[in-house]
Structures are given as C-alpha cells and as structure tokens.
C-alpha cells in the first residue's frame, strides 16, 4: 500500500499566498537591520571602552547573549502579529465556514496556521545566521550554542504561535488578538515570577524563624511554567558555564525527588510548555467549530 505523506493543505496554501506577498521580505529586512544595528552598537561600545585604541574583547562576549535575547524578544512580537488574523481573517471571509464543510478537522486548521507561522520563524532565523556569525568570530559562540539558540527560537515560536492562533480563534480584531497574545506571554512571565519570589520569601521566613538554613525548596518549579526559562538557562550556561540547576543545587540541599527534577529542569520545562502549547491549539480548534454570532 502506498500512502503519500501529505502536507497540511492550509499550510500549503499559506505558503503559496505568503510567498507572493512582499510583506514578509520587508519584515525580515527590517529585523535583520535591527540586529545588525545591535552588533554595531555592541562593537562600538567595546571600542569605546579601550579609548578607541582597539577592542575590549571581554565585553564582546556579551554580543551573542544580547543578540540571542533580542531575537527571542522580536520573535515574541512578530509571531503574535502574524498569527493574530489567522483564524479571525478566515472567519470574516466565511472561508472558515467553507473549510469546516470539508473533512479537514478544526485541529488541522489550527495546526496549519501555526505551521505557516513557524515557516516565517524559520526564515527569520536563517536570515539572521550571518549576523550571529559575527559573534562566532568576535567571541563567545560555538556550534553548540548556535544550535541551542535555534532550538530555543523554534520552541518559543511554537509556544507563542499557539497562543496567537488561540487568541485569533475568538478575538475578531487582529490588533486586539496581537495585544492579547503578548499580554498572555507577559502575564505568565509576571505571574510565575511573583509566585516564585513570594514562595521563596515565605518559606525562607519560616525556615529562618525555626533556625533552619536557606533552601529554595520546590519554589523554582513554578518557573518551569515560564516559557522563557529555557532561554534564561541557556544564556546563563553559554556565558558562565553554570546551569540553573547548579545554582539551585548550591542554594540549598534538596530532597531526592526535587534533585532529580532539577537535574532535568530544562527538558522538563520545554516538554511541559510544549504540552501547554498543544492545549492552546486544542482550545483554538474548539473555538473554530463554534459559529460566532454574525453582525447583520
């Protein structure tokens, strides 16, 4: 039996339509220009520190993490923009209705939309590699770090993209969906941070009162729900060689189970967040089925 591997039809169409539009090219041009500007700024500052008599190479080490964080930050803005109209746009044209009369499942529709956003993410990533290569030459970057950054960009793209498709599935206006997607990201960032510090503060207050020593306990687990934790760990490791796990370990003695979890902290966090992303896609698929009230 011959069964052909099929590309998701929605993804295929999006690629065809997207490749004919100049919008994406301009966006990538702008982004790369921005990254280049950062490289120039970092180099200029390294130059200035030595009184323009050469480079202070130790400060150039910061080039890669700064570029990496900027790329992740930009991605967290671009992906909400490209996914914000993905479902609402189809709904408005009633092409969503037509899609729903075909055997394609709502989940496939959501997946196709996420896929097309991921293609843009990949284009964005690949186009920025030459700029990242400058960090290769000037300091701080090796192949492992480059692959790590690519992995993190893809993972973040999937996460933010799923939230974006989800928002687009129930928010009519693209701009509102964009803002909501970003707000959800920032919200998770803030909430996990607040819970983390509050937990540490409270548990320490009690352990100090009972004459115990400082221990973060299970509090850092909260940060597993922060989609940006792997990025933080990654930057930390490339820069200082210590991982988040080692910091936690030195901070206090752990129980066996916690110790084991902290060792696999980042992979667990990535898998967890990808599952959450899957959950968002499922919610999007549910919303796609629901016929919204139409304004007459």
């Amino acid at each position: 039996m011959k069964k052909k591997l099929r590309i998701n039809p929605i993804l295929k169409k999006e690629l065809m339509v997207g490749s004919r539009s100049m919008k994406m090219s301009f966006a990538i041009l702008g982004i790369d220009a921005f990254l280049t500007l950062i490289v120039i700024l970092v180099m200029a500052s390294a130059n200035m520190m030595t009184g323009f008599s050469g480079y202070d190479y130790s400060s150039l080490v910061w080039l890669f993490p700064i570029l990496g964080c900027t790329e992740c930050g930009l991605l967290s803005l671009i992906v909400p923009i490209i996914t914000s109209g993905s479902i609402s746009g189809e709904r408005e044209r009633q092409t969503l209705d037509i899609m729903l009369t075909t055997p394609v499942s709502p989940f496939s529709i959501a997946l196709g939309k996420l896929g097309s956003a991921m293609v843009v993410v990949m284009m964005y990533m690949i186009s920025s590699i030459p700029i990242l290569a400058i960090a290769f030459v000037l300091g701080g970057l090796n192949w492992g770090a480059l692959l790590g950054l690519i992995g993190i960009l893809l993972y973040l793209g999937i996460y933010v993209g799923s939230v974006g498709v989800f928002c687009s599935s129930f928010v009519k206006k693209s701009i509102v969906a964009t803002i909501l997607t970003i707000a959800i990201g920032v919200g998770i960032l803030v909430i996990t941070g607040v819970v983390f510090y509050a937990w540490i503060g409270i548990s320490n207050y009690y352990s100090m009162k009972n004459g115990g020593s400082f221990s973060p306990g299970a509090a850092p687990l909260v940060m597993m729900f922060n989609p940006y934790s792997p990025l933080f760990d990654f930057i930390l490791r490339t820069m200082s060689g210590t991982s988040l796990y080692e910091i936690i370990e030195t901070a206090g003695n752990q129980s066996v189970v916690l110790g084991w979890i902290y060792k696999g902290w980042i992979p667990i966090s990535v898998v967890l967040n990808l599952l959450i992303a899957l959950g968002f896609l499922n919610l999007a698929a549910r919303n796609i089925c629901v016929t919204r009230n139409r304004k007459k």
Partner: protein, 315 residues
C-alpha cells in the same frame, strides 16, 4: 435525498426555526424562498453541519447529519451567502486548495477542475488571480469549488444576491446545467421569480416555518383560482371616496369575493371563482352603474402566490 424533520433552532430566546419539516427528492432543484430573516440561511447551515440544531433531525441520504457530521461532508457542497477570496491565489490554485482539503491528488483536482471551470464558464480565467475576478465570476467559481468533491447535494445560499442582471443570467445558465447533471440542489432567495423558472420544486418560508412546499406544478394547481382581480373603476357623480365605498359594497355582495383592498389607484379583489364567475362579476359591476376602465385577473404565477402568502398584497 434530504429529509428535515421537526427542525427547531433557537438563538437564545429567539426562535429562528420553528418545527420545520421538509422533504427533497434526489435530482430535485429546490427553490427555498422567503423574506429576509425567514430562516433560510439558518436551515442551510444546519444541513451543512455548520450550526447545531436545538432539536429535530436532518437526514441526508439516510445519514443523520446532526449526529454524524463528518459522514455527510463528502456528500454536501456549500456556497455561503457571503464569502471572500484569498489575495494572491490563482483560480486553479484556489481549486487545488479545496481539492487538497478533500485529500485529492493534484492531478485529479486539475482534471476535475478543468471540467468544472468549463461548466461555470471560467476556463479562460484559470490563470487569473481570484481577487481580480468580477463578483459574478467569483460566485461562479465558488459554485465550481463546491463541486470539486462531486457532492450529491449542493447547497447555494442566495447565489444571485448582489449580482447584476447579466451575471444573474449567467449564474442561472450554470445552475440549469447542474440540474441536468442529476445533482440535488437547494437554492435560496428572497425573490421568487428568479427561482420559479429553474426549480422543479419550491418551498416558501416565513418566520422559521415552511408555509407551503412541493413540486412547482402542484403548487400552481393548489393556487389556481385564487388569483386576485385588479379593477380600476369610477362611479359617475360621486367623489373618489364615496365611489370607492360604493364599489366595495357592491363587490362584497358578490359570491366568491372574500376580501377587497386598495392599491394606489386600483381595487384588489381576492377572488376564488372561475373565469365565468369573474366575467359575471364584471357584468354586475357595469349593470350597477360602475364605470370600469380596467379589469384583469392576475396570471397564475408563483410570484403572486408568494406575495399573497407572505402578505405583500394586503394593505
């Protein structure tokens, strides 16, 4: 082919479909007529599985569409009342896109699309971008698209709305061709005349209920002899008001006259009698000193029936 039983749909408290029953045979071209807001779109969306019914059953080829929506998707093609198209997509790519949603191979889609584009008279546009087509062309393209998977039932929601007369004519030709292909078709419209020519059966809907439905000839027969008579008449020596009153009194004395109403300059008589009785009525009017300048009975067509049923003729 299509059997709708006790279909009810509520939007919140609003009753959009009220215990709707409808039967359409295979190969029928069914005209679904009713004023705006009657519930045509609601019915069609339920049939296509896009909307959940509050209660009732929809059977397509014996398959319960409400319980097994996935099974009917390959049987039904749907053209919504409003739709947009994608920018930057060519006509043939548009067809390919929808073909691939049905899991069809590219070659297969191309072959079928050639035939369909010919059917809807768009063969020369296959390389054109969809958003550059005229409204009528887009509408016809959408019909071709709805046929890509060779469905048995084609559901068209107001395919003529927003089209100019020329485009309407072309659409009508396309739909007539479809009829000869043996497909079962449902077409909705809020205007009856554009359907009466090409439909084999018809249903008139109002306020979520089907008022009348059946084969076009049957409905014509049922309504035979119910056409109103239009009269222009004056009474010499009396003012318009008094004259009208006198004429009305005379008319109401006659057998077969059930109702007298007025349009701007005509008297409209609901009359159930035969031709001879109509002639007798005219004779009586003249004998009673009424100067009749115009007396005619409306032709038996669906439009007047529709207007009568939906109350358009009453004042």
């Amino acid at each position: 082919m299509l059997e709708i039983q006790n279909l009810t749909k509520r939007y919140g408290k609003f009753l959009a479909l009220n215990d709707l029953n409808l039967h359409i045979d295979k190969g029928e071209i069914f005209g679904f007529v009713g004023p705006n807001g009657a519930g045509k779109t609601t019915t069609m969306r339920i049939v296509c599985g896009l909307l959940k019914a509050s209660s009732g059953t929809v059977l397509i080829d014996g398959v319960n569409a409400l319980l097994r929506p996935d099974d009917i998707k390959r049987k039904v093609g749907y053209v919504p009342d409003f739709f947009g198209v994608y920018d930057n997509l060519k006509v043939m790519e548009y067809m390919e896109f929808y073909g691939s949603m049905y899991g069809m191979e590219r070659e297969e889609v191309c072959e079928i699309s050639e035939g369909l584009l010919e059917l809807v008279n768009l063969s020369d546009k296959r390389e054109a971008f969809v958003d550059t087509l005229s409204r009528g062309m887009k509408q016809r393209l959408c019909v071709a698209r709805a046929l890509i998977h060779n469905p048995d039932l084609l559901v068209l929601d107001e395919p003529n709305s927003g089209l100019d007369p020329r485009a309407r004519f072309e659409m009508k030709e396309v739909l007539k061709n479809l009829g000869t292909m043996g497909k079962t078709i449902i077409i909705s419209s809020h205007i009856l005349p554009e359907l009466s020519e090409m439909c084999t059966s018809i249903g008139i809907m109002e306020h979520g209920q089907l008022i009348i439905s059946g084969k076009v000839e049957e409905i014509m027969q049922k309504s035979a002899g119910t056409q109103p008579i239009r009269i222009k008449a004056t009474v010499s020596g009396q003012g318009e008001e008094d004259g009208r009153e006198y004429i009305a009194t005379v008319l109401k004395e006659q057998p077969s006259v059930s109702k007298v109403s007025y349009t701007e300059d005509e008297i409209l008589v609901s009359f159930t009698g035969s031709e001879q009785e109509a002639a007798k009525l005219l004779k009586t009017l003249v004998e009673r000193d009424i100067a009749v300048s115009n007396f005619y009975r409306e032709k038996e067509d669906l439009e007047s029936l529709f207007l009568e049923i939906t109350g358009g003729n009453q004042e």
